[in-house]
Amino acid sequence: MNQKRGFFAILVLLALGGVILAIARHVVTGTPFLPGQEKSVWLVEARIDFDADGGAVTASLALPEDQLPGYELFAEQAASPGYGFAILTERRSRRAEWTRREASGEQSLYYSAQLVESENRDDNHANDPPVDYARIVYWDEARELAARDLLKVARERSSSPQSLTRELIKLLDSATSQNAALLRSGADQRSDLLMHLLERADIATRSVKGLYLEDARRRQTLSRLVEFYTGSEWLLVDPRTGAVGLPADFLVWTRGRASVLDVIGGAKSRVQFSMIRQSVPATQLARASNGEGLFSRLGVQRLPIEEQSMFKLLLLLPLGAAVVVFMRVIIGLQTSGTFMPVLIALAFLQTSLVAGLVSFVLIVAAGLALRSYLSRLNLLLVARIATLIVLVVFLISALSIIGYQMGFSTGMTITFFPMIIIAWTIERMSILWEEDGSSEVMKQGGGSLLVAVLAYLLMQNPLLVHLSFNFPELNLVLLASILAMGQYTGYKLSELWRFRAMDDL
C-alpha cells in the first residue's frame, strides 16, 4: 500500500511539475496558452552548403526585401561561426555576404528571417518601368520555327498581354502539339521558356523566385514564377498552372536576373530553405529569440528551424502514445501491433485524413490479395516479407502515379507510411485471416484504424499542437496519466460486454 502511495505521489508531482513549469513559462515569456490570438509569424531559414577550397571565401545570398507583398520582414539573423557577415543594400536589392580569409571542407551558413503576415498585398515593384535589355536566345531552326508557330497561334487567340500569356501556357501544356513538345524538351525550366517566348512577343518579363510557405517543411528550394509587363504594371504568373496574380502563401524572395547564391572560393554550393509557422505574438517572439532568460534558452525555439519542425512532430508523439494506452487499457480495443496506430496517425498528419485512410486501406487490401498468391509459392518467411516490402513499394508508387494523373497530388505523400510496418501488418493479417477468419482481421484492422484516426484528430488539433510545441513540459502531465493508466486494474469497457452473460445467471 505504501509503495502505491509513493507511486501516486510521483504521479502528482510529475503532473504538477508540468503544469507549474508551463505556467511559469507563460508568465516569464508571455507565450499565450491559446493559439491564434496573434498574427502568424513565419520563420524561414536558408541554409547554404558548399565545399570550401581552402582559400578566401565570399558567399553572397540574395535576400527578400523589407516590405513584401503579404509579408513584412520582422527580424533577421545569420549564424556562421568564423565568418564575417554583412547585409549589403544595392539600389533596392539586398544581399547577405559572408566572408572569411581561410576555410576548407564542408561549410554551412545559416540565414533566418522572421516574417509577419500582413494585410498589405501591394507590391512596390508593380509599377517599375521595364528595364530594356535584349535577351536573345539562339535556338536552332526547328525550335525557332516552333516558337514562331506557337506565338502566332497564341497571338491569334488573344487580345492583351494577359490573354497572350494565358494562351501561351495553355499551348505549352498541350500534349498533342509537336511544337510545344519540341520546345519543352529543349528547356530546363518552364519559366525560362515562357520568358523567352514572351520576350519574342515584345512583352517585357522578369523572373521571380520565391517560397511556398507551408508549416514545418524542410529542404525546400525556390520556386520560379514569371512576371510580365502589361504596359502599365507587372503581373505575376505561374508558368505551370497559368494562374495570374500572387499565389496565397507565396513569399517573394528575389526578383530579376541576379543570382540567388554566389560562392567564391567554394564548390558544390547550394541553398535550401526550411520554414515553420509560430503562433507566438511577434513581440514575444523577438524576446524569446533574443532574450537570455532561462525559458528562452531552454525553449525548442532556440533550435535551428530544420530541427524545430521535426520537434513539432516529435512532441506530438506522447499524445498518440497516450491515446493508444487509453484505448487498449481502459476501452479494451484490439489493435494489430501496439504502436502501429501512432505511426499511421503520423502518416495521416502528412497526407490528409481521407486521402490517408483511403490509400492505407487500398494498400493493405491489395497487399492481402497479393499475399494470398505468395502463400502458394512456398517461400521462406523472411523472403516472403521482403517480397511484400517490394510489392508494397510498387503499390505505393502505382497509387501515387494514378493519384497524380487523376489530380490528387496528395497521393505523393503516401510514401510517409512506414513501409516495413505495412508489410508486416499485411503478413500478420493474412495469417490471422487463415487461422481466425476474416472477422478477426476486421476487428483488429478496424481497431487499429479507429485508434489511428482518434490519435490523428488529437494530434492535428491546433490547440494541442500549440501547447505541445510551446509548452513541451506539459508532456509530463501526459506521462503521469500514462503511468496512472498503467496501474489501472479495473475492468476494461470491452469486458463489460465480454462478460455480459454474467447477467443471465
Partner: protein, 330 residues
C-alpha cells in the same frame, strides 16, 4: 437475453477478474519474468516436465535448422500420427495435427490431406518465427498424438478436448473442459467458438457450460448433454496441475491437461497469462478464490497433495452457489 453489457458493479460482485487486474495484480506480482521462457517455450516446458517426472506426450524430434527440413521424411518414417507445433507459439497458433497416412499424403485432424512439402513449408514458417511472439526465430517440435479417452466421445468435434486448470501459488483454483466445435474449426479456444465446460473443483463434474459467452446445455454439433460430464481420476489431474507450480516456480499459471486412453493425464502445455475465459465457462469469477489463496498465511511449504486437498475442500462450498455468492466468502 437482456442488455448487451453488464454493469461494473455487478462484475465486481461476481468477483470477475479483468485483464488489467490480472496483469498488474497477479502476473506482474507472482510471475517472475525470468521464468517466463519455461512456459513460453514448449520445448523447455517439455524437458522440464520430463525432468520432474510430470507425464507429457512423448517428444519425437526437434527441428532447429532450416537445412534439416530437406531430409525430414526419414524422421517421419513409421510415425502414423503426430502433432507438429512451434515451441514458442501461443493461443494454439501454428499447430498441425496429423492423424494418419494415406499413401504419400498426411491426413490432418480436419480430414484434409497434405503433402510432405506442405509440412516442410509449415516447418519453415515455424523456424522463421511466424507464430512466435514478436517474430523471433523458433524451433519446431514433433510429439506423439494423444490417444484421447473414450469418455469424451461425442463431446468433441474434430479435436482433442483438454482440461484447463488455473493454478495459483500451487493451489488449483478453477477448472474447465474445452470442447472444440465445428464453429471453432477443431480448435479449443473459447473466443473461436469452442464450448467451455466449468468443472467442479471437488468432483470434476460439470457445473456450467458456455459457448460464445452464452450458456449451453448440449454440444452444438453432437447434441450430447454436457451436464453429464464427469471426469474420472479428478484428484490425479489436479495433482498434475499443482505440480507444475513446483516445476516452474510461477505463481499464476494455466495448465492444459489432456487425458490419454493408455497413459492417463498428460501435461500438454503451460500458459503464463491465463484466466479470463475460464470465468465465463464457469459462470463464476476468479477473484474471490485468488484473494482467498493470497490471504493464506501458512508459511510452511505445503506439498502438492495438501494443496490439492485444501482447494478441493475449500472451493467446493463456493461452487454450490452460482456467481454472486462468491463475493460473500471473499
Amino acid at each position: 437475453m437482456g442488455r448487451p453489457w453488464v454493469s461494473r458493479k455487478r462484475l465486481k460482485n461476481y468477483g470477475m477478474l479483468g485483464m488489467n487486474c490480472r496483469n498488474v495484480d497477479f502476473i506482474n506480482r507472482y510471475n517472475d519474468r525470468t521464468l517466463f521462457p519455461l512456459v513460453d517455450n514448449k520445448l523447455q516446458t517439455k524437458l522440464l516436465a520430463q525432468e520432474y517426472g510430470v507425464p507429457t506426450p512423448l517428444l519425437r524430434f526437434v527441428v532447429r535448422e532450416q537445412h534439416e527440413i530437406n531430409h525430414i521424411e526419414q524422421e517421419f518414417a513409421g510415425l502414423e500420427h503426430f502433432a507438429l507445433k512451434p515451441a514458442k507459439g501461443s493461443g494454439g497458433k501454428g499447430i498441425m495435427v496429423v492423424t494418419g497416412r494415406h499413401g504419400d499424403q498426411f491426413v490432418r485432424s480436419s480430414g484434409a490431406e497434405v503433402s510432405i512439402s506442405d509440412i516442410r513449408r509449415h516447418m519453415s514458417n515455424i523456424l522463421a518465427g511466424l507464430y512466435s511472439l514478436g517474430g523471433s526465430p523458433d524451433v519446431a517440435i514433433v510429439e506423439d498424438l494423444i490417444a484421447f479417452d473414450e469418455c469424451f466421445s461425442g463431446y468433441s468435434h474434430e479435436g482433442v478436448p483438454d482440461i484447463r486448470i488455473i493454478v495459483f501459488k500451487g493451489y488449483p483454483v478453477m477448472a474447465m473442459l474445452r470442447l472444440s466445435t465445428h464453429a471453432s474449426d477443431g480448435k479449443a479456444n473459447l473466443h473461436q467458438g469452442a464450448v467451455g465446460v466449468g468443472l467442479a473443483l471437488d468432483t470434476g463434474r460439470c457445473l456450467y457450460a458456455a459457448q460464445f459467452g452464452r450458456p449451453v446445455s448440449t454440444h452444438p454439433d453432437t447434441g450430447q448433454a454436457l451436464g453429464d460430464i464427469h471426469i474420472e481420476g479428478w484428484r490425479d489431474i489436479l495433482l498434475l496441475a499443482s505440480q507444475c507450480y513446483d516445476m516452474t516456480g510461477l505463481g499464476y499459471i494455466g495448465t492444459d491437461i489432456v487425458l490419454d486412453r493408455l497413459q492417463g493425464p498428460q501435461l500438454l502445455e503451460l500458459n503464463a497469462r491465463p484466466g479470463l475465459a475460464i470465468q465465463i465457462a464457469n459462470g463464476r469469477g476468479l477473484l474471490p478464490r485468488l484473494r482467498h489463496i493470497e490471504g493464506l498465511t501458512l508459511n510452511r511449504r505445503f506439498r502438492s497433495e495438501h494443496r490439492v486437498d485444501y482447494a478441493m475442500r475449500q472451493f467446493a462450498e463456493l461452487e454450490k452457489n452460482p456467481a454472486g455468492a462468491g463475493a460473500e466468502v471473499a
